[in-house]
């Protein structure tokens, strides 16, 4: 039985990562180690949740750097499972999950093949298999291609990065502006997508890797921040969305957490994005009785997990700001020793 778990995504700011809500879901039953990328990540200082915090090398440095760091952490804390919660680090953890297993560190992640199936640029093909609508999307890598795509789709269009960021452009001038804004930060290719009129609804789920959806909760964001992050939300019972989640897991044998982002429109449901991890609102699911992080840990341990997609609708989620005071010495210790 797994006792010691490491997890990343400790940024609990206005652009929150999923690590803290995942940790809140697990803190009662497990010893938790925080994997941080920055001493400014607020959860670095949540001593009532994390036994230890380690600063990690950026994923762009590659697996050798990660492996060396994890060897130290394994030696110090005997971590048995890692739950990576950030998009940028997932490809590395997915690619090297067997090497991690050999180090005595389990993960519960999809295969690279399945991970790539839900890539934004591949979603058109996957949506056909799932028999669900998907807004027409064109991949672009130059301004010329951008202009052609905008002409084909007609304004307004969504200009999206392949990993992060999406903006609605109403004319070619703003489309080009967003093209440079996103590409300078996140590179190429970009995606130009037709806009869909409807209401966004979301689902967090967990697949067992054998085609079975073991847990899920669906919600609607009632208010969001300027970055589009949930501020208030409500649980909903949307049969078509739940069926889409079941179909996705069955078609892909998805192993691990995921989030469906969909638009409910007059002519049915459109799939917009599939994130290969827990969303930062995952504690909402825990609080309404579907503790997906705990189910993931049990699956990773090889335990049987009973399906749980039963939750009350009409439960309200309220995010709020808070603060606490700690000693600067902790900040300086984390910078200098890379541990806390």
């Amino acid at each position: 039985m797994i006792k010691n778990i490491a997890l990343s995504g400790l940024n609990a700011t206005d652009n929150p990562a999923p690590g803290y809500p995942v940790a809140k879901s697990l803190k009662e039953d497990y010893s938790l180690i925080g994997l941080s990328y920055d001493p400014n990540e607020p959860a670095d200082y949540f001593e009532n949740i994390f036994q230890k915090i380690y600063l990690m090398p950026y994923p762009s440095l590659g697996f050798n750097e990660l492996k060396t760091r994890l060897e130290t952490i394994k030696r110090d804390t005997d971590i048995e499972l890692i739950i990576p919660n950030l998009d940028a680090e997932l490809p590395l953890y997915i690619k090297y999950q067997e090497e991690l297993e050999q180090m005595g560190i389990k993960t519960f992640l999809p295969t690279m093949e399945h991970f790539e199936l839900r890539d934004k640029s591949q979603l058109t093909n996957l949506s056909k298999k799932l028999n669900i609508k998907h807004p027409k999307t064109i991949e672009v890598s130059s301004v010329k291609e951008l202009e052609e795509a905008c002409e084909e789709l007609s304004f307004p269009v969504m200009v999206k990065g392949n990993y992060y960021k999406a903006y609605k452009a109403h004319n070619i001038k703003s489309a080009i502006e967003y093209f440079y804004k996103i590409s300078s930060e996140w590179g190429f290719p970009l995606l130009v997508q037709e806009t869909i009129e409807g209401e966004e609804i979301n689902l967090v789920g967990l697949g067992d890797g054998k085609g079975h959806l073991v847990g899920a909760v669906s919600i609607k964001k009632l208010t969001t921040t300027e970055l589009g992050k949930i501020w208030t939300g409500i649980t909903i019972e949307h049969k078509e969305l739940m069926q889409t989640a079941k179909d996705f897991v069955e078609q892909t044998n998805w192993r691990g957490a995921f989030e469906l982002e969909c638009m409910a429109c007059q002519d049915g449901l459109y799939i917009i994005e599939i994130n290969p991890r827990f969303p930062a609102w995952v504690y909402f699911a825990t609080a309404v009785g579907v503790n997906l992080p705990q189910m993931l840990v049990k699956l990773a341990s090889g335990e049987d997990v009973k399906e749980n997609i039963d939750f009350p609708d009409g439960k309200l989620y309220v995010r709020y700001t808070d603060e606490f005071i700690t000693d600067f010495s902790k900040f300086s210790k984390l910078i200098t020793t890379k541990e806390l």
């Binding site: 209401e199 609804i201 919600i219 609607k220 009632l222 939300g233 409500i234 649980t235 909903i236 019972e237 949307h238 049969k239 409910a264 007059q266 609708d313 009409g314």
Partner: protein, 78 residues
């Protein structure tokens, strides 16, 4: 036409559990909702509301018609 399944709470808020939308029901709207859910048609609802609020049937029918148009606009008819 069938009204989407809505739940009306003690504060006269109708909640749509499939989309998470809620609607504040003012005045006679709660009565009309409940009558629709009871399977009454426009004419029957108009007669009941006309009697209950002591308003002419003609005026009530126009308002009920308008109310139905709004329900359709909000996608509350399936």
């Amino acid at each position: 036409m069938q009204l989407k399944q809505l739940m009306i709470d003690e504060n006269n808020i109708a909640f749509d559990p499939s989309m998470g939308n809620s609607y504040q029901l003012g005045g006679s709207a709660k009565d009309i909702f409940e009558l629709i859910q009871d399977g009454k048609d426009k004419e029957e609802i108009s007669q009941i509301i006309s009697k209950k609020y002591n308003v002419s049937l003609e005026d009530v029918y126009i308002d009920i018609n308008d109310f139905f148009t709004k329900l359709k606009l909000y996608g509350l008819f399936q």
